[in-house]
C-alpha cells in the first residue's frame, strides 16, 4: 500500500509538471496548446534514446529532453505564427498525433509500437520502496523549482507582456512589443517543461511506447489546470494533484456504488471528473487559484 501511495505521488508530480507547462503558454499568453502530450512524448523519447542507445547518464537525458522540447516548441511556434485560438488548438492537436504516429512507425529509431524498455532511472531500482520514495521526492523538487521559476517569470515585466499579448496582441504590437518573440519564448519554455516531465516519467517507469501518449493525457492536464487556475503555477500544481487523487480514488467507486460493472465504473470516473470541473467553474470561474494583478505602486 505504501508503494502504491508513493507511486501515485510520483505520478502526480509528473502531471503537476505537465500542468505547470500550460501556465506560461495558455494561462499567461492565451495560446491553447492541445499538443501537450506530443511534447511529453518528445521529452520521453529524447531522454530514453540518449540514455539507452548512447548510454549517456540520466541527467544528460533530462537536459536533452529540455533542449528537444524547446527546439520542437520553437518549430511549432514558427509554423503556427498566424494561427490563434481554435486554429492553433487544432494544429497542435494534430502535431501530437503526428509525434505518436511517427513514434509508432519509425521503428529504426523508436522501436515502433514495441516501445523502448530498460530506460535507466535516476536511482537504483533494487531499492524497493526507497526507489519510489527517492523518485517521488526528486520529481516533487523539480516540480517545486519549475513552479518557482514560472511564478517569478509571471510576475516579471516579461510575464506582464505575455498577459498583454493574451488580452490583445495588436495593441501589444503597436505598444512596441515584439509579439512573435514573446510568444515563441513562452512556448519554448512550456514545451521544455512538458518534455522534462516526459523524460522523468520514462526514466521512472523504465518503459515507453507510443500508446502511452494518448490525447486523453492532454485533456486531463487541461482539466487540472482549469480547475486549479491556469495562470498560476500553484493553481496548476494543486489542480494536477487533485485530479490524480480523484482518478485514483474513483477506482474504488465499484465498491461503493452497488450493481455497477467494471466498465460502468470506468465511465463513472470520467463523468465525475467532468462534473467536478463544472462545479469548480460554476463556483470558482477562474479556478481555485485565480490570477492576481500586480500591486499598483504609489502614484507619486
Amino acid at each position: 500500500m505504501a508503494t502504491y501511495i508513493v507511486f501515485i505521488l510520483a505520478i502526480a508530480a509528473v502531471y503537476a509538471l505537465l500542468a505547470q507547462s500550460l501556465v506560461l503558454v495558455w494561462g499567461q499568453s492565451g495560446m491553447v496548446n492541445l499538443g501537450l502530450v506530443g511534447f511529453f512524448a518528445i521529452g520521453a523519447y529524447a531522454s530514453a534514446l540518449v540514455t539507452t542507445d548512447l548510454a549517456a547518464p540520466v541527467v544528460i537525458g533530462l537536459v536533452c529532453a529540455l533542449v528537444a522540447g524547446a527546439l520542437v516548441g520553437l518549430a511549432v511556434t514558427l509554423s503556427t505564427l498566424r494561427l490563434r485560438d481554435d486554429y492553433l488548438a487544432i494544429v497542435t492537436l494534430g502535431f501530437a498525433e503526428v509525434v505518436r504516429i511517427v513514434a509508432s512507425n519509425e521503428i529504426w529509431l523508436t522501436n515502433g509500437t514495441d516501445g523502448i524498455a530498460g530506460i535507466p532511472s535516476l536511482f537504483d531500482r533494487s531499492g524497493g520502496l526507497w526507489f519510489h520514495v527517492k523518485f517521488a521526492v526528486a520529481a516533487t523538487l523539480v516540480c517545486l523549482l519549475a513552479g518557482i521559476l514560472i511564478s517569478r517569470l509571471s510576475r516579471s515585466p516579461w510575464g506582464r507582456v505575455l498577459r498583454a499579448i493574451r488580452d490583445d496582441q495588436v495593441v501589444a504590437a503597436v505598444a512596441g512589443k515584439r509579439v512573435v518573440r514573446y510568444k515563441a519564448e513562452a512556448f519554448m519554455i512550456g514545451s521544455a517543461i512538458a518534455a522534462l516531465a516526459g523524460a522523468l516519467y520514462g526514466s521512472y517507469i523504465s518503459y515507453i511506447a507510443p500508446d502511452l501518449f494518448q490525447p486523453l493525457i492532454t485533456i486531463y492536464v487541461f482539466l487540472a489546470a482549469t480547475a486549479g487556475g491556469n495562470s498560476r503555477a500553484i493553481g496548476a500544481t494543486i489542480g494536477a494533484y487533485l485530479l490524480v487523487a480523484w482518478l485514483e480514488a474513483s477506482r474504488f467507486l465499484g465498491e461503493i456504488v452497488p450493481g455497477v460493472s467494471a466498465v460502468q465504473v470506468a465511465a463513472l470516473r470520467e463523468i465525475t471528473v467532468g462534473l467536478a470541473l463544472v462545479l469548480v467553474l460554476r463556483f470558482a470561474p477562474g479556478g481555485l487559484f485565480r490570477e492576481k494583478n500586480e500591486k499598483a505602486p504609489h502614484a507619486n
Binding site: 498577459r163 493574451r166 495588436v170 495593441v171 503597436v174 512596441g176 509579439v179 494583478n293 499598483a296 507619486n300
Partner: protein, 235 residues
C-alpha cells in the same frame, strides 16, 4: 516632422483602399482626416502605423525612413498608434497597462507614470483597478496614456471619441490639444468632424482613397462645400 508620400495599400495583396495619399504633420500640429464612411481614413492610419503593409509609398519621421519597419519598430522610433477600439489591456490594472507602454526607457517608467498620473488624475485614483472596468471615455484616456509612456513624437489616433458622450468627448479633445501644445505631432481620424476641426490646426478630406481637400482646419470648417458634404451643415 511626419512625412507620408504616395501611400497605396489595403487589407489584401490586390486591395487598394488607399490610392496615393500624401501628408505632413509638424511637431505640435494636429492634422485631422475627415471624409465619408469607406473613404479609407482608418486604413490610411493603419498603413502609416505599419499594421497594414503598403504596396507603394513612404513614411518618414524626420530623417528616418520607417517604410520597411513593422508596427513595433515604428513605435520604437516614436510613431505610436492608438487604435479605435480594444486599445487597452482589460485584464491588467491601469498601472500594468502603463508599464506595458514604457519600453524605450524602462528605468524611467516610474517617472513617466508619475507624469501621466499628474496629467490624468482619474487614472492615478484607479491605478490598481482592472482596465476592463473603465468607462468608454476613461478607456480612451488610458489608451492615450499608454501611448504617452513611450514618449511619442507622433500620435496616430483612430477615432478617439468614437461612441463617447459629448462631455467625455470634449475632455478627450482637450487632452489631445494639450499634447499637441507640448510638441507632439498628432494625426487623427475622426467622425465627430465639427468638434475635431475646432481644435485642429489643419484638416484633410479623403474621398475614395484619395485626398480631396487639404487646408487650414478653421477655413475648412467654414467652407460651404465641406460643411454641406461632410459636416452635416448647410452651405
Amino acid at each position: 516632422m511626419l512625412t507620408v508620400e504616395g501611400l497605396v495599400g489595403g487589407y489584401g495583396a490586390a486591395d487598394e483602399v488607399v490610392k496615393g495619399v500624401g501628408l505632413t504633420v509638424a511637431p505640435g500640429e494636429i492634422l485631422t482626416v475627415i471624409g465619408p464612411n469607406g473613404a479609407g481614413k482608418s486604413t490610411a492610419l493603419k498603413l502609416v502605423s505599419g499594421l497594414l503593409r503598403c504596396k507603394a509609398g513612404s513614411v518618414r519621421l524626420g530623417e528616418s525612413d520607417l517604410s520597411s519597419l513593422d508596427p513595433q519598430g515604428r513605435a520604437r522610433e516614436g510613431l505610436v498608434f492608438v487604435p479605435q477600439e480594444r486599445n487597452v489591456f482589460g485584464a491588467l490594472t491601469i498601472a500594468e497597462n502603463l508599464d506595458i507602454g514604457a519600453y524605450l526607457e524602462p528605468a524611467r517608467s516610474h517617472e513617466r507614470a508619475r507624469d501621466v498620473y499628474a496629467r490624468f488624475p482619474l487614472l492615478a485614483e484607479r491605478r490598481g483597478k482592472a482596465a476592463g472596468a473603465l468607462s468608454g471615455g476613461q478607456r480612451q484616456t488610458l489608451a492615450m496614456a499608454i501611448a504617452l509612456m513611450a514618449s511619442p513624437r507622433v500620435l496616430l489616433l483612430d477615432e478617439p471619441t468614437a461612441a463617447l458622450a459629448p462631455k467625455p468627448a470634449a475632455e478627450i479633445f482637450k487632452a489631445i490639444r494639450g499634447l499637441a501644445d507640448e510638441g507632439i505631432a498628432i494625426l487623427m481620424v475622426e467622425q465627430n468632424a465639427l468638434a475635431a476641426l475646432a481644435m485642429s490646426d489643419r484638416a484633410l478630406v479623403m474621398v475614395d482613397g484619395r485626398v480631396a481637400m487639404d487646408g487650414e482646419a478653421q477655413a475648412m470648417r467654414q467652407d460651404p462645400e465641406v460643411r454641406r458634404a461632410f459636416l452635416g451643415g448647410r452651405a
